[in-house]
Symmetry: C2
Subunit: 260 residues, 2 copies
């Protein structure tokens, strides 16, 4: 592997209009990138660039929405909601989106989703939704979502960029959420440096870098939580070549997990 | 809070000479930043810039080194090392650096350090060390390390930048390591957005962003694992104002931790 580039640049693309179910997010992203390029032509998409898209707009475009009015909560959801002053229908949706509930305490549900992600409330969210009484669910297959956006960007702009669908996850042992990759297209989400010499020429034994997750964090910092800028381009990252998948490459089978 | 800036730039500073115990890392950092500025004067340090320094060089400069030849392993360390083909003296050092061992399996020890960090092998490391038979330990007080570097940078360059001491940690549920902050100086490591309106004007309830950890990940991507560039400057990040501490602000007391 070559030395990585010495500069990393992340730029939030211009605001999107409110995304609706059925919207072509790849096309909206291409248009936003084109508007950015009009402001600064050096930012025109290039091979090696990454487009990071937050889960929320992907879920909206894919119609991964549930109206609270349509939800019948089970007794367990009603009891938990009453105890912690939550909406029982929202609790019900979180339980439906969970393959396995790990903790259910203090109004928060930590669970493993059907994709294998461990996160709060199964990724079900009510914030940043224009319609009251509507929840977003995680995309069904975030790797496929990323691949579709990538293809549309190429059709619209003629450049094959890498794409990440990101979300903000909490973690054990440390306060604060950080953004991670739910899905990727156009590169491998892990940079496997095992067997490469370190700066002293010694073999590095256990270094597999979570490049896609780190890139998601870069985008979070560039975009900001309160903004309407769900798209960020990143230039100058080392991208391990290959057709990667968060589902296949990053989600850890329980038996391999010593941190659990 | 204002909208965050729309551009984030991370640039690895030029290579450092091999860092030795007693070296003035703040001065070395200031020199490296000065050399970068000679190449590109737009990169001269400004208030609001962040300097991310990897733990390894901090530990070396602070003399946080242990020679394997000086270590007498306890019987538990010998047994574990024999079973997993490890160096019993290295296992011994990991146990000494651990306040609590969480897992000891397949040659890997997951433990909580005296600082409260949960990581593999208590942060004890043999890679990227020029001297054979020498291990690095984590800095005793990484927040204080960051503060000292910050002061020296100000003395040398006349600018108060923010400083992060970073390290690469694994995590549960997902393959790959990502860089996090062990210590900070000059800002708050968490951006507490609770109570702020989101893009729809709705209150965001649980959003506390791990800004320092995300910045550490930015630096990792800009520097690369195999390089001799342990220093990275970052410009354009939102930095919550205040005198923060990873130890005090980020490390989570067990009773607050629903992800555990």
């Amino acid at each position: 592997m070559n030395e990585p580039p010495a500069r990393l640049l992340a730029v939030a693309l211009p605001e999107l209009p409110e995304v609706q179910p059925g919207d072509d997010l790849g096309r909206l992203g291409a248009e936003a990138w084109w508007r950015l390029t009009v402001e600064d032509e050096s930012l025109a998409p290039q091979p090696g660039d990454v487009l990071v898209v937050t889960q929320k707009v992907v879920s909206k475009a894919e119609g991964r929405l549930v109206r609270l009015a349509d939800v019948q909560p089970r007794p367990e959801a009603i009891a938990f909601a009453e105890r912690w002053d939550k909406d029982a229908r929202q609790v019900e949706v979180v339980l439906r989106e969970s393959a396995e509930v790990l903790r259910m305490e203090r109004g928060l549900i930590i669970s493993r989703t059907h994709h294998g992600f461990v996160c709060a409330n199964a990724g079900v969210d009510a914030s940043n939704i224009a319609a009251e009484g509507v929840l977003t669910l995680l995309p069904e297959d975030p790797d496929a979502s990323a691949a579709r956006i990538r293809e549309r960007i190429e059709e619209e702009l003629g450049v094959l960029v890498a794409v990440i669908v990101s979300d903000s996850f909490g973690r054990p042992w440390r306060f604060g959420i950080s953004d991670v990759a739910l899905g990727v297209a156009g590169f491998l989400p892990l940079d496997d440096l095992r067997g490469l010499p370190d700066s002293e020429g010694r073999l590095m034994h256990v270094t597999v870098v979570a490049v896609a997750d780190e890139l998601a964090s870069v985008a979070e910092l560039a975009a900001g939580k309160t903004s309407r800028r769900p798209l960020v381009m990143i230039r100058g990252a080392r991208l391990p070549a290959g057709e990667g998948s968060v589902q296949r490459d990053v989600v850890m089978p329980q038996e391999a997990d010593l941190f659990r």
